[in-house]
């Protein structure tokens, strides 16, 4: 995918946020340019929410700074707020308020008046497919409706930057696809989007760039292809053998470039470090060793596996 603009809309510079001993965000820097979708991926407790809250001017960095459209979130929160829409990972409902009144309240709070407000409401309700739900009380919404309403609230003032914290959490497959389409549509119109998830595959199709974060540190960043490429030396290998399973397992275990061997009946699966040439050589050696191999398959690792190998699953 191509990047649309050169103007940096989100910039993080050596961002730190400590909670006592916990380093929730530990020196993160990156830039997202206009109209790009940045996927922010990491396991639970990685520091995604914390850094997004700082961007949304809800929290304060311990060191470092972040900029939205050139305005510091520390020094010029008023300018940042005008151009940023934030969708947190919680709902934030009012009692006795319906969908329309909720959006209307936030439209007014963002200073929209008169015709502007009505236009913004109409557009947002249409975009998030909330038209039919206008009179529905907020507290009676399903998860999918709630997420759409949250998105609607975040975009009511037509922000140029959207920060979405796990918007796909709890959505069914159809709703996920809808969400993806909405996000693409917003990005195509030039909105810069930062979106978090703990599932890489979920974001792979809609992000221009992804950053993988764990324990407050950015471990890898680039396009999905680049991230996959960094670990392209790895392959998941599957072998079927007629016999001699114990000897095969021992032989595999002895090799340096083989890891995570598992066997089941006549099948063996393992993680192999090496490109296509190395894989061909491996097969040759297996045959030379007189193993009765009847099937050999190697495939690139899935994004899940890439993600698992980059992050170590450590929790603070």
């Amino acid at each position: 995918m191509i990047s649309r603009g050169d103007r940096p809309m989100i910039e993080l510079y050596n961002l730190h946020r400590f909670f006592g001993r916990t380093r929730a965000v530990d020196n993160i820097s990156f830039t997202v340019r206009e109209g790009n979708v940045f996927g922010y991926i990491g396991p639970n407790g990685a520091g995604k929410t914390t850094s997004m809250r700082i961007l949304a001017t809800l929290d304060h960095p311990t060191y470092g700074d972040a900029y939205v459209d050139g305005f510091s979130v520390v020094d010029d929160p008023d300018h940042v707020r005008r151009r940023l829409g934030f969708m947190p990972d919680y709902f934030g409902a009012y009692a006795n308020v319906n969908v329309y009144e909720y959006l209307d309240f936030f439209a007014r709070s963002y200073g929209l008046r008169g015709k502007d407000r009505l236009k913004a409401l109409k557009y947002t309700m249409g975009f998030t497919k909330l038209d039919g739900l206008a009179e529905k009380p907020m507290t009676g919404l399903s998860k999918g409706m709630k997420q759409r309403l949250c998105l609607g609230r975040a975009m009511i003032h037509n922000p140029s930057v959207l920060v979405l914290d796990e918007p796909a959490a709890g959505l069914d497959p159809r709703a996920r696809i809808q969400l993806r389409e909405m996000i693409r549509e917003l990005a195509d119109k030039g909105t810069t989007i930062l979106i978090s998830s703990h599932i890489l595959t979920e974001l792979a199709e809609m992000c221009d760039t992804v950053g993988i974060i764990e324990q407050g540190q950015l471990l890898a960043m680039g396009t999905v292809e680049e991230i996959r490429g960094e670990t392209a030396e790895h392959a998941a290998v599957h072998i079927q053998t007629l016999d001699e399973m114990p000897r095969l397992l021992a032989w595999l275990h002895a090799r340096e470039d083989v890891a995570q061997v598992s066997s089941e009946g006549k099948n063996v699966r393992f993680d192999f470090q090496g490109d296509k040439d190395a894989q061909a050589k491996l097969l040759k050696e297996l045959v030379q060793e007189n193993f009765p191999i009847i099937a050999f398959g190697a495939k690139e690792r899935s994004l899940e596996e890439v993600f698992m190998s980059i992050t170590e699953g450590k929790v603070q």
């Binding site: 949304a56 300018h79 707020r81 409902a93 009692a95 006795n96 609230r153």
Partner: protein, 546 residues
């Protein structure tokens, strides 16, 4: 918008739509919520029922209804019925509406909109006012009925309602301010229990005032016809408004962004409070007095409110952080003269310390000058009221600021020292100061009293032992038990130590006021220029916005 059928309907729709554009968004939202909420309609109906019930009951048990002037009896009952929602439900509702939003996470969503903190406070207050109006309208027919019963005049009704609404508004602002003080859940729970208890107490303490008809004669039992009544009422009202203004400015400041200037506006209101207070005291004691004693005694007594106020304010101000954010440093005055003049209004522990000492000192000098002036100008009648003379007044007005400087200086040194290890906020700073004050009083008092049991001492020695016990010394000073020698010794001791403490504090104070102005970043200047460029389209402005 619902489609209107008639032309008039359409016009009403259009007009109310336009009018709503001017209103605070919070007021609109809470108005809509209130219309649907049972938490609002139930108390409203209860008030209505209580009024009806009392009307029937009152008419059936009171034989005088047909002949006598029983308006007052009926009115008191309706008034107390109205006082419950106005003094308890509405202020507590204001408290809960903010803490509740914090709990539900909606406050965060609201705070990152372009709504300013002041608009949030105003919106909450406007919504409290709206509720008051609704309760008032529920009771209004009954009150009109009491007027028809005679025995109460319109003026009395108006004054009493005025004070009730003022009290309700004051309590609402105060509760709102309390709600902004802490975001920690357990403190909020504790605070809400205390708030409801305090409000109930206030409500029940209105009973004797109302039943004895005190409110009609506010203040000091003056008759309505006299201009003193109006002056006194106005003074009372200005006092009430000052407390309200202080709460309001604190609430506003607490809702500001952490790098914003949270202090200057509060300091200005603090100063305003004490200026208004001292002016009224000065003016009233002059106008109402025939002898110098009538002036000096009120001054000495009001000092007992003035200085504790500044001690508490000072303890809060000392709890501020001295390092200015870049955002605040952009607003520092450019010129040397400007800096000299405004330095003590700029946020910071050190500037707050100096600010407090200056204000307290100014108050003390004003009081002393007033006393001497009265002594010169007014006859000294030697009446039985002569219980405080100028010499005593000077003693009191020297002791108060001296103790203030003494305890505030120790407190600040401790705050600055502790900050090298832990975070100390404004509330922690106040607690610290109160602990230091308590220690300074209890320790010598205990030493004095315990050792008294073994060897008896004369009063003079006891005064010396109790030097740091501000309560002891000031009570003795008010009772004129402090001799010149003891006063001189106290002055020497406390004054000397305070001088050293001030010097110790000075270094960090100077560091604070030396902070330099920083230029606005280019991006902000660009934005301002862009905004100033094309004329903005005329949007309706919000009357509650500033």
């Amino acid at each position: 918008m619902p489609r209107a059928k008639s032309k008039l309907g359409a016009w009403i729709d259009r007009t109310s739509f336009r009018a709503a554009e001017f209103l605070n968004p919070i007021l609109i939202k809470e108005g809509r919520q209130a219309l649907k909420s049972r938490g609002f309609s139930v108390p409203f109906l209860l008030v209505l029922l209580a009024c009806l019930f009392w009307s029937f009951l009152g008419v059936s048990i009171n034989e005088n209804v047909y002949y006598g002037a029983v308006g007052w009896d009926f009115f008191s009952a309706y008034y107390l019925i109205l006082a419950f929602p106005l003094l308890v439900i509405v202020p507590f509702g204001a408290f809960r509406s903010l803490t509740g939003e914090r709990e539900d996470g909606t406050y965060e969503l609201l705070s990152i909109t372009t709504l300013r903190p002041l608009q949030i406070v105003n919106g909450k207050l406007a919504s409290a006012l709206m509720q008051m109006a609704v309760y008032l309208s529920a009771v209004a027919p009954c009150i009109a009925f009491t007027y028809l019963l005679r025995g109460i005049d319109l003026f009395a009704i108006a004054t009493m309602l005025f004070w009730l609404v003022s009290a309700s508004l004051l309590l609402s602002v105060f509760c709102l301010m309390l709600a902004t003080l802490t975001t920690a859940k357990h403190w909020q729970v504790l605070m809400s229990v205390m708030v409801i208890a305090a409000l109930m107490f206030i409500f029940f303490s209105t009973f004797p005032i109302v039943l004895e008809g005190e409110l009609q004669r506010l203040p000091w039992g003056l008759a309505v016809e006299t201009w003193e009544f109006w002056a006194g009422s106005f003074a009372t009202f200005s006092g009430v408004s000052m407390i309200g203004a202080l709460s309001y400015s604190v609430a506003h400041a607490q809702l500001k962004f952490p790098t914003d200037n949270r202090s200057t506006s509060v300091r200005i209101v603090m100063l305003l409070c004490s200026v208004v207070y001292t002016s009224w005291i000065g003016w009233a004691s002059y106008t109402f007095s025939e002898s110098a004693d009538d002036v000096i005694a009120p001054i000495a007594i009001s000092a007992a409110f003035f200085f504790p106020f500044w001690f508490i304010m000072g303890a809060f101000l000392v709890g501020e952080y001295g390092e200015l954010s870049r955002r605040i440093r952009r607003t520092l005055p450019k010129t040397m003269a400007g800096r000299m003049f405004t330095a003590w209004f700029i946020p910071g522990s050190g500037t707050g310390y100096v600010f407090t000492i200056c204000c307290a000192g100014a108050g003390s000098i004003f009081g002393i000058v007033m006393g001497f002036y009265a002594d010169l100008r007014l006859p000294n009648t030697n009446t039985m009221f002569r219980f405080i003379d100028t010499r005593q007044l000077v003693q009191i007005l020297v002791y108060f600021p001296l103790y203030l400087v003494f305890y505030l200086s120790i407190g600040r040194l401790l705050v600055v020292g502790l900050r090298k290890r832990i975070h100390v906020g404004v509330v922690a700073s106040l607690l610290l100061h109160l602990i230091i004050l308590a220690t300074g009083c209890i320790v010598p008092f205990a030493v004095d009293n315990i050792s008294m049991q073994t060897n008896f001492r004369d009063m003079e020695t006891r005064h010396i032992i109790e030097t740091t016990n501000v309560f002891w010394v000031l009570i003795e000073a008010y009772e004129d038990n402090i001799s010149g020698t003891i006063f001189a010794l106290h002055l020497l001791g406390l004054g000397g130590v305070s001088m050293i403490l001030i010097l110790l504090n000075l270094n960090s104070v100077i560091k604070e006021i030396r902070q330099q102005r920083v230029a606005e970043p280019k991006r902000v200047r660009e934005e301002k220029a862009a905004q100033a460029g094309p004329p903005a389209p005329a949007l309706p402005t919000n009357p509650f916005s500033d």
